[in-house]
Amino acid sequence: MLEGKIALVTGASRGIGRAVALELARQGANVIVNYAGSEAKANEVVETIRSLGREAFAVQADVASAADVERMVKAALDSFGRLDILVNNAGITRDNLLMRMKEEEWDAVINTNLKGVFLCTKAVARPMMKQRYGRIVNIASVVGVIGNPGQANYVAAKAGVIGLTKTAARELASRHITVNAVAPGFITTDMTEALSAEQKETMRNQIPLARFGEPDDVARVVAFLASDAAGYMTGQTLHVDGGMVMP
């Protein structure tokens, strides 16, 4: 479905980003694998993609840094000459109760999870406008829609991503660039492994499909939005959460 497309996936060394990078490659895309710190894991993803017969390389970049993002997008364009798909996935958590949250915790999460999406979108908009083609998929979260105690920073960032998705969709639509979001629910990754057994049980009880999601559950929906099959969708947020939130 994505034969020959060039995709950039941020935060692609682990978790949902890794699954997205591999799924896009399985569907035919060549992939630029961005990572912040996990070089060895990013290289593993690259090797796996190459074993599928696709091209891939890893680029270290902090998405919260405009200079890093520009360097990353330039590297992608220098190698492949175009950029069809951007998946804004890179994200971190610094959970704390609102009353105890430090300014640094707030800033770190907003910078990576929200500003990072802005910077990457801005950087790829230029080549995509010239191409008159682009698919941008942002990884939001159901908590950005319903809130979550202990995650004021993360929830604010994810809700921000949903708003940014709608605005970018409106601004870029005339150039045939679509911008959509996916809002995962409880997905089994390093990020959610940090939760206690009790928290997990509470979450599971809220999921009609009665199981936690796997990164591949999210990756397949991202791949759909990144494909031409979703060409008439823009500004939307698709929930991939086992029915947890039905807005």
């Binding site: 230029r126 406008m129 010239k130 601004e171 005339s174 150039r175």
Partner: protein, 77 residues
């Protein structure tokens, strides 16, 4: 120097689909040539490529008329 105006005019005609006769130095991209804000961003991008220069967002915002664009480019060549 007429060359700059010629090259700028060609880009404007191609991008905005206006008639060459409409592209005068006094013509405003927005008011006279029907460009919206995104068209202007794109025009600036194409001018950057055509003349192999970087035009900062601050400078780009000052470009209102065709003459502004031509003068800015001449000042940088």
């Amino acid at each position: 120097m007429a060359d700059v105006l010629e090259r700028v005019t060609k880009i404007i005609v191609d991008r905005l689909g206006v008639d060459e006769s409409q592209v005068t130095l006094e013509a405003s991209f927005k008011d006279d040539l029907g460009a919206d804000s995104l068209d202007i961003v794109e025009l600036v991008m194409e001018l950057e490529d055509e003349f192999n220069m970087e035009i900062s967002d601050e400078e780009a915002e000052k470009i209102v008329t065709v003459g502004d664009a031509v003068n800015y480019i001449k000042s940088r060549l």
